[in-house]
Symmetry: C2
Subunit: 570 residues, 2 copies
Amino acid sequence: MDTIKLAKVARGDAIADLVLKNCKIINVFTREIEIGDIAITDGKIVGIGEYQGKEELDLKNRFVAPGFIDGHVHIESSMLTPPQFAKIIVPKGTTSIIADPHEIANVSGIEGIKYMIFSSIFGPLNVNIMIPSCVPATSFETSGAIITSKDIKKFRNNKGVLGLGEVMNYPGVIYGDPEVHKKLEYMADFVKDGHAPSVHGKELNAYKLSGIKTDHECTTAEELHEKVARGMYIHLREGSATRNVKALAKGVTIQNSRRLLFCTDDKHSEDIRNEGHINYNIKLAIENGVDPLTAIQMATINIAECYKLDNIGAIAPGYDADLVVFDSLKEIDVDEVYIKGELVAKGNKALFDPVLYTNGYVTNTVNIKDSSKVNFDIKLKNNRVKVIQLIPKNVTTTKVIREVTIKNGIYKQDNNSDILKLAVIERHHQTGNVGLGLVEGYGLKNGAVAMTIAHDSHNLIVIGDNDQDMKIAMQEIERIQGGITLVNNGKVFESIRLEVAGLMTNTEVKIIEGKLKEMDKKAREMGVNKAVDDAFLSLAFMSLPVIPELKLTDKGLFDVTKFALVPLEE
Amino acid sequence: MDTIKLAKVARGDAIADLVLKNCKIINVFTREIEIGDIAITDGKIVGIGEYQGKEELDLKNRFVAPGFIDGHVHIESSMLTPPQFAKIIVPKGTTSIIADPHEIANVSGIEGIKYMIFSSIFGPLNVNIMIPSCVPATSFETSGAIITSKDIKKFRNNKGVLGLGEVMNYPGVIYGDPEVHKKLEYMADFVKDGHAPSVHGKELNAYKLSGIKTDHECTTAEELHEKVARGMYIHLREGSATRNVKALAKGVTIQNSRRLLFCTDDKHSEDIRNEGHINYNIKLAIENGVDPLTAIQMATINIAECYKLDNIGAIAPGYDADLVVFDSLKEIDVDEVYIKGELVAKGNKALFDPVLYTNGYVTNTVNIKDSSKVNFDIKLKNNRVKVIQLIPKNVTTTKVIREVTIKNGIYKQDNNSDILKLAVIERHHQTGNVGLGLVEGYGLKNGAVAMTIAHDSHNLIVIGDNDQDMKIAMQEIERIQGGITLVNNGKVFESIRLEVAGLMTNTEVKIIEGKLKEMDKKAREMGVNKAVDDAFLSLAFMSLPVIPELKLTDKGLFDVTKFALVPLEE
C-alpha cells in the first residue's frame, strides 16, 4: 500500500478513487451510527468525513456496515468449490471467511489444503485457511491422507495459513495425547480453533490451557457463559443442521459480547441462497433480542480481533474497503457489497465471474480395488443384529437390536422390513476395505443411493435394498469419479458429479440444486421417509465415528459409546 | 510449557504447585466477580474452580485481579535502570510494561535499546520493548545516535521487540515524509504506537491510515471519542507532568471502553512511590465515575489485546500467573503481587533483589570537546534579545523580548534581573557545539545547575548566573560521566550520578530521592522560584525542539513556531 499517496487523499490534497456519500456508517468501535462520506483509494478506506472522489455515489442515508466475516466454515459442506461458494455468499454480505478445509484434507491431505488456497486467490472473497488438526478423525477408518504434527510444522508458515483448525479431539487435548499436544505446540503462535461440545468445569480448564481460543459447539447460554469466563471466544453458529443462534442469543450481554462471534460451520448452498449467510445469523440474533450494532460487531470487528486480522472488520482509515449496504437494521437485507473498494454484488447477485480451478491432486480421487468384485454379502453367525437407526434431522443415530433373516449364513433382505443395507467402500488407496451394516428409518425401495460425501474420511457410502442396484450405484460413482447418484431398478436415475475430491464441484450452483431437487423428488417416490431431512446428505453422517451412537466405517461397524469396532451380531 | 503435565493438573489428576483458595476473582472476560480457587503450576494459571495444591494459601475472599500493565512508558523518566524501576512499580501491581526506550536510544542508539532488553531479562517484570521511531526528534540538534528505517528493519525481529514506539513525527506521517513512511512500512506487521496531540479530522484519517494503533496524547473526552471512532486505542495517561485520567474518564462508556487503556508515559520515582503506578490510574478512573471492573479491564485485557500479548491480562487457564491481591475496589491498594506464580511483592515492598547490569555501550557517554576551553560568552549585535520564559508546571515556554546589557559586544549578566544564561553543550561526539541562550523565570543566584537529561538528544544542559559556576557544573558532570549537579559559589553542593547514558542509575531509589530532596532544598535557598515545579527536571524540556515556543539546542536558539534556528537578537 502506497501510504504516502493515500495520506495525501486522506488529508484532502488529492481526489479519492471513490467516495460513498451520505452513508449511515456503522461504527463498530463506538457502537454508534455516524453520518458521513467514506473515501476509498487503492481498495483501502482512506477517510471518513467529507470527501471528493473521481467517482461519487450518493448512498442516500442507507446503512453501511463493514463486510461480514464467517468465523468458521467448511466450504465443502456447500458442495461448491471456493470460487462458486464465493459467488453465493458474497451477495449476502460475507466478504471474509475463516475456512477449515477439514473435508478435502481427509481426501487429499496438504494438497487439498493447497487447492483451497490456490482456488481462492483470484476471487474477491478474502479466504483465510486454518490447517485441519484432526485428519483423520479416528484410527477406525481409512482416510485419503494423514496430517501429522510434522506436516503442520512444515506447512504452518505458508501464505494463506492463519491458524489451526478446530481441535475436535478434545479427549486428546484434555488427557494429554502427545501427537495432539505436538500440533498445539507447533501452532503456539497461531490462532487455534476449538470444538468442545459440553466440555466444562475442570475438563474445560484442561482444554483451554494450551491456548485453544474459540468454540463453536455451545448450545446453551450457560455453556457460552462458562466458556467466555475461561477466556474463549464463542461462535454463535447457524448452519443447515446445527442452529444455535436463537438459544445462545439469550446469553449475549453488553459485558461479554466482545468475545462473541458468528459462524455457519456447515451450510448447504440452498439454505444460503434462501435464508442468507452471516447476515442471517445477525438477523436471527436481533430477532432474539441482541442489539443490532452488537450483532454487527459479532459479525465483524470481534472476529477480526479474535483472528488477528488487522485490516478487516471496521470502517476506518487503513482498513480494506469491504462494505455492505442495506436499508433496515432489522432485516439486514443486503443490497450492495464492496470488497477492496469494488462493487462485487448488488440486489442478491454476484457481479463477478468465478475463476475456476482444479488440479490433478484433487481430481480422480475414487480408487476402488476391483469394483466388479466388491461383494455386499453380510455373513452372520446369528440373527440378532445391531442396526443403525436414523434419527430424523439429526447427525446422531441410535443403536437398535433387530432379528433378521439368514440364508446360508448370509443376511437376506426382507422386503417387508424397513431395514436396508449400508456399505462403506474404501476409495482412496485401493485397500479393498468394505464395511457392511444395516440401517433402519430411511425407507428406500427398489434402488440405491451412493456418494463420496461420507464424514470424515469420505469413503464411498452406498445404501440400498438390493445388491445389484448398490453395485450399479457404486460403479456410477467410480465412473464419474466422485459425487452423488440415485439408482432405481437397475438404472441410474441421475448423478451429480463432485469432481473435486468427490466433495465439491465447479458446476454452477443452480444446476446442482436443480438436479438435487429432482433426485430428492425421485427418492421420496422410491420411499425415502419424509422425516429424513435430506435424502442424500443425511447419509453422509452414517460413517462419522465421533458422533453417537452406532456408525459404519470402511473397517466395519463402530460403537461410538464404546469407541470400538463391534461385530454386527449382538 | 509442558501442556500435557499442566492438563493433568487442570483436570484434577495431579496436584498444583500453588493454589490460591477463596479468591474473589476479577473476570475481565465477563466483567464479573467470581468466587473460586486459582490453581497455578509452572508459573501458569491451570484452572479456576476447586483445586488442591502442594502449597495452599487462603485468600479469605480478597480481590484478585490480573497483573496490571503499563501500556506506554519511558522507563528513563524515573531515572532508574529497568531493574530498579521494576522494584518500585511491581509492588504497585504492575507486572508488565510496554516500554519505549526513546531517551536512551537518543544517546546510545540500538545499543541503548539492547541494554534495556538485557537489563530486564533477569527480573520478574515482563518488559516489552517498542523500537523508538523518532531518533533524533529533529535535525536541529545533535543526538548520540540516529535510528534509521534500515536499522529498524534489521532490528525488528529480535526477541524482546514488540513493535514501533510512538510516532511523534505526526507531520511526517500526515504529509508523507518518505523515511517516516519507510519505518511504518517495515513495521507493517507490528503494533505501532502513536502520538498525535490534537490531531483530528482529515489529518487524523491520514495519521491513522498506515496502521498506527494507539494514542496517549488525548486531553479531552471529545478527542478520545473521535480517535476511538477512527479505530485507535487510547491510553488514559497519568504521569508526573501530564495528567489526563480525570478529564478523559468522562469519555469512558460501556460502548467504547474495550478500546481504552492506561499508561504513565513519564513518571518520576517519587510520584510512583507516593501515588502509585497503574493502580493509581485505575483508582482515579473509578473516582471519576468509571466502573471498577471496566477500569481493571483497561489496565489488563484491553492492553494485552491491543498489543497482542496472548499470555497476560486475564485470570484464565494458560495465562501467566500474574496476579494482584487487594481489599477494596475503590482504593486498589495493592497488597500482594504474583508474577508467574511467584510472590514478588507484599505490603508495598518488593520481595526480589534487582539484578543490576551495565555495559560499555551505555556508560561513559559524556564526551565533550575540550571542556576546559568551553566558552559561555554570548556575543550580541544588539541589546533586544529573545528570552525563553519558563511557564510553571509546563514543558512549553514563551518567547519574550527583553533589553539586556552588552559589554564589548558580549552579554553581561545583570544581577538585578531575573535572566540567567542557558547552555546546551554537545556531549556525544565531541563536535564542540555549544548553544547559548537566555532564560527567565527560574530564579537561581550565585550558582549553576547542570545535567545530561535534556530532551530529546540529552546533551549537557547548564543554567547559571555566572560563567565560572556553569563551567564547574559542566566539568562535574563530565567527571561523573552523566547526571545532575548543583554548584554554589564555586563549589559542587551535591551530584547525582546517572551512569547509564547520563539518564539512569543502578543506585537504589531512596538514595537518589534523598539527594534530590537536599539538592532541591538548596536550590530553593539559592533562589529557584517556588512556582518552578521541579528545580532540575523542569530544565530538561528547555532543549526539546518539538514543543512550543522557544527552546535551545546544541545548535542554537530554536523557534518552534517557525520550526527554525533563530539568532538571539530580535
